[in-house]
């Protein structure tokens, strides 16, 4: 870390440092774009992954906290804080020319805080309607429902966009633009469409059956979880995580709990840690099974879908016995888990591990080995390793592009360092690789479960926590490997019993960012399979 500090002070002497959970560098807005370029390109730093972009309102100023990861520096993470005092017309330079992932991230920040990003090509709102009044995550937001009544009409002027361009003299002016040209044939897919896996909306401009451009319209399930969290206490915000990516409920909640525990300096009993990891892996299997089923169904092989669900029910039974619910388990709590394991847990898990390999063979026979399925998935939706890194595509989709990005290996947490498992990598860079990574990860998860199932230690299931949980002043960032990639939680606390700011950095958010890249040049039918193989969960994107 001190080395990084040294290089940074050489590049930008005016930068100030704050030591904390991660090294935080504070820079002036006018230096920001040049500094970002240097961070990405200077030898010895090479921060090539933009992990998170967190918009902030510090009352006296608005700003953004960027979390950057360097793959070549053993996944070191630093954060950069950029603040602007102007509340009326705040502007920050965009970095989406350096890290493509910033495109949607900055639109989200614009939506929530009204910060305009200079030189961003497409400065539209991301989650809220374009006729929305105000920016909801600002601390002075007027939440009067009369300002924003329940709308009854569709949005107008969907094709209009604007870009804030800076000329040589540093003057910024708004340049209006169009998303689609007048004469383009635009097919609207969603929000109510069987294959968008929720309420995502894609507007695809097509030429015959070939897709030319995809415009992602999100926000059809944007529930404002981050704003709601600011008004609740720490134990109360836990339940939102189960309802974001409901297919990685345990991992998400694990992440939030770990972040809070890290801030409190709380030691989690070992039994609880082992249970948490086992639950995470079961959840991962369940998620990949659903993903298998949905991929098969989107390709029209309905029967394979039912096979995937058959095994998924076994996992849901295990969850139900221990956690008391099939979905939205609400199992992890701050300091441990809420209830002890059901007596049948070990037996059920063993039975599941015994059955699963033969069932996987069946899946390969019924679906993966099928010639039509192979032709539909192979060489479709190409995403190179460089693009995967630039767009921060983590999880099975990133590993399908041969990018080793498993958070369980890169930032080991809980008991993961003690178990043996392989990080599955495929080099096809296409939908088939992404699909195969998932299928092989099921095997690896079974392997982890097999190692842990007989080694669940006795002891407490949760640590003693104070009745009212207050975090010290500061900010924390925690990442875990959820079913679909790296899930991050950012918490900023002012020492109160409720957080000042909570940001969830969801993996699926980045996944939709590559829809345009991966779908262009393929067919309409491929749009569906590419989406299925990327496997995003919409409530996780919209939050």
């Amino acid at each position: 870390m001190s080395e990084i500090k040294e290089i940074i002070s050489r590049i930008l002497p005016s930068a100030t440092f704050t030591e904390g959970d991660t090294l935080m560098v504070t820079v002036d807005e006018k230096d920001w774009h040049g500094f970002a370029k240097a961070l990405k390109e200077t030898k010895g730093l090479e921060f090539d992954v933009l992990s998170a972009v967190v918009g902030m309102d510090w009352k006296d100023s608005l700003g953004v906290v960027y979390y950057l990861t360097s793959t070549s520096r053993n996944w070191d993470v630093i954060s950069v804080k950029v603040a602007v005092p102007d509340r009326e017309n705040p502007m920050i330079h965009s970095v989406c020319d350096l890290w493509k992932v910033a495109n949607f991230q900055e639109r989200e920040v614009y939506d929530f805080y009204g910060i305009k990003f200079i030189n961003h090509p497409d400065m539209r709102r991301f989650f809220l309607r374009n006729d929305w009044n105000g920016h909801p995550l600002r601390k002075d937001y007027d939440a009067d429902p009369k300002l924003n009544p329940i709308p009854t009409e569709d949005e107008k002027n969907e094709d209009d966009t604007v870009s804030y361009v800076e000329d040589e003299n540093g003057n910024v002016k708004a340049v209006p633009g169009k998303v689609f040209e007048e004469d383009e044939y635009v097919v609207n897919v969603g929000p109510q469409h069987p294959s968008t896996h929720g309420v995502m909306r894609f507007r695809a401009s097509v030429d015959g059956e070939t897709v030319k451009k995809v415009d992602v319209v999100s926000g059809y399930i944007h529930r404002g979880i981050e704003k709601l969290s600011e008004g609740l206490t720490y134990p109360q915000i836990l339940h939102f995580t189960d309802r974001m990516d409901y297919m990685s409920a345990h991992q998400n909640r694990h992440c939030l709990c770990m972040c809070i525990e890290k801030a409190m300096g709380l030691e989690v009993p070992r039994r609880a840690q082992v249970i948490r990891v086992m639950m995470d892996e079961l959840m991962r299997i369940s998620s990949h099974l659903l993903s298998f089923g949905c991929t098969a169904m989107d390709l029209g092989a309905t029967t394979a879908f039912f096979y995937g669900f058959r095994e998924r029910e076994m996992i849901l039974d295990i969850f139900e016995k221990t956690c008391g619910a099939r979905m939205s388990m609400n199992y992890n709590v701050i300091g441990g888990v809420i209830a002890d394991l059901h007596p049948d847990f070990v037996k059920d898990v063993k039975e599941f591990i015994r059955i699963m390999p033969s069932r996987l063979k069946e899946y390969h026979k019924v679906f993966s080995g099928n010639l039509i399925a192979k032709n539909r998935l192979k060489k479709v939706g190409h995403l190179s390793k460089e693009d995967a890194i630039n767009y921060a595509i983590t999880g099975p989709s990133g590993r399908g592009s041969n990018w080793s990005c498993d958070c369980r290996k890169k930032h080991p947490y809980s008991v993961y360092p003690e178990v043996e498992f392989e990080e599955v990598l495929e080099s096809g860079c296409d939908s088939y690789s992404r699909y195969m990574v998932r299928m092989k990860e099921i095997e690896q998860s079974c392997r982890i479960l097999e190692q842990l199932v007989d080694r669940i230690p006795e002891g407490d299931i949760r640590a003693q926590v104070p009745k009212v949980i207050k975090l010290p002043v500061g900010c924390w960032y925690q990442q875990v490997e959820a079913s679909r990639g790296t899930f991050g939680v950012y918490i900023e606390s002012t020492g109160e019993k409720n957080p000042y700011r909570v940001h969830f950095q969801s993996p699926c958010f980045n996944l939709v960012g590559v829809m345009d890249l991966t779908c262009s040049g393929y067919m309409i039918a491929d749009l569906i399979t590419i989406g299925a193989a990327l496997d995003f969960v919409i409530p996780d994107i919209d939050r």
Binding site: G300, I372, M523, A525, L527, I528
Partner: protein, 358 residues
Amino acid sequence: MFNFGIWTSEFNNFLMGFLPEWATVLVECVIIAVLVLLTYTVLALFYILYERKLCAWFQCRLGPMRVGKWGLLQVFADMFKILIKELISLKDTDRLLFKLAPYLVITSSVVMLACLPWGNGLQVINYNIGIFFILAVSSVGVLGILLAGWASNNKYTLIGAMRSGAQMISYEISLGLAIITIIVFAGTMNINELVWAQDKAWFIFRGHIPAIIAFLIYIVAATAETNRGPFDLPEAEHELTAGYHTEYSGIHFGFFYLAEYLNLFIVSGIASLMFLGGWMPLHIPGWDGFNNVMNYIPSVVWFLGKSFFVSYVIIWFKWTFPRVRIDQMLSFEWKYLMPLSLANLVLMAVFVALGWHF
């Protein structure tokens, strides 16, 4: 073998006894029309249940169980419901074509159904170009689908219709060539004569290699012709919501739904007619005892049994295979299936010329 022709000619004579000839023909036409429509409905309902039960079976489920014994009344409930559903008229559509389209589709399938030989003497009309007529009428259905897609003023339906046009016209070639292969072998297009030509043994056995190839080509092409999986692109649910009939509701949708299932029966019927002997029982040359036993099974049962079997295979395809993509499907037809069927036609001609068949 019982000849149903005895009954029909007796009935004809009975009518002629007290009616002039024109009236007899009129009465007979009305009765036949009613019978055909009735058969159509009953068969379509049966097929809907048949597919739902089969697909449930493939998917480790039970399928309809609660409405009636084993869910037998399920389809009747569906029928009542569809009959009373609201017919939505849409803004900015071509009203005439929009309403015409389902009738075109259903008419073409009713006419095709009427041409099939149901049993010995159970045939509505006996043309000398019967099979050719069936193929010609089947093309009218494509028109209906194209019109439906066009008239709905919806991008999904339009894409569905265009896909369907490209698909059906392409696969009609292979379908036609497969049938021509058998016509070359049989030397007739008359449906009745086709069946009787299989008296000794079915065409698929008599024509051995080329006939079997033609049968396989026919099954593939027929699956595509009826828009069923893995070639169900025109209504690809997960891409185009419901394809060309997205905007249809109520009984108009019901017509598409019925026609879809009935076309399945019709292509199976043609398959059994051309390859599996139509209503002709299984005859093995030389085994006279066995042949006589087979003759005791009524010819209608033979025809339906064979058709249901072929349909079963096609349904099995649908619930097993993923869907192909439009370019893959067209290249499969034009690059592989059509050259193969042309070569097969030549092969059959050589076999017939040299007498290398049974």
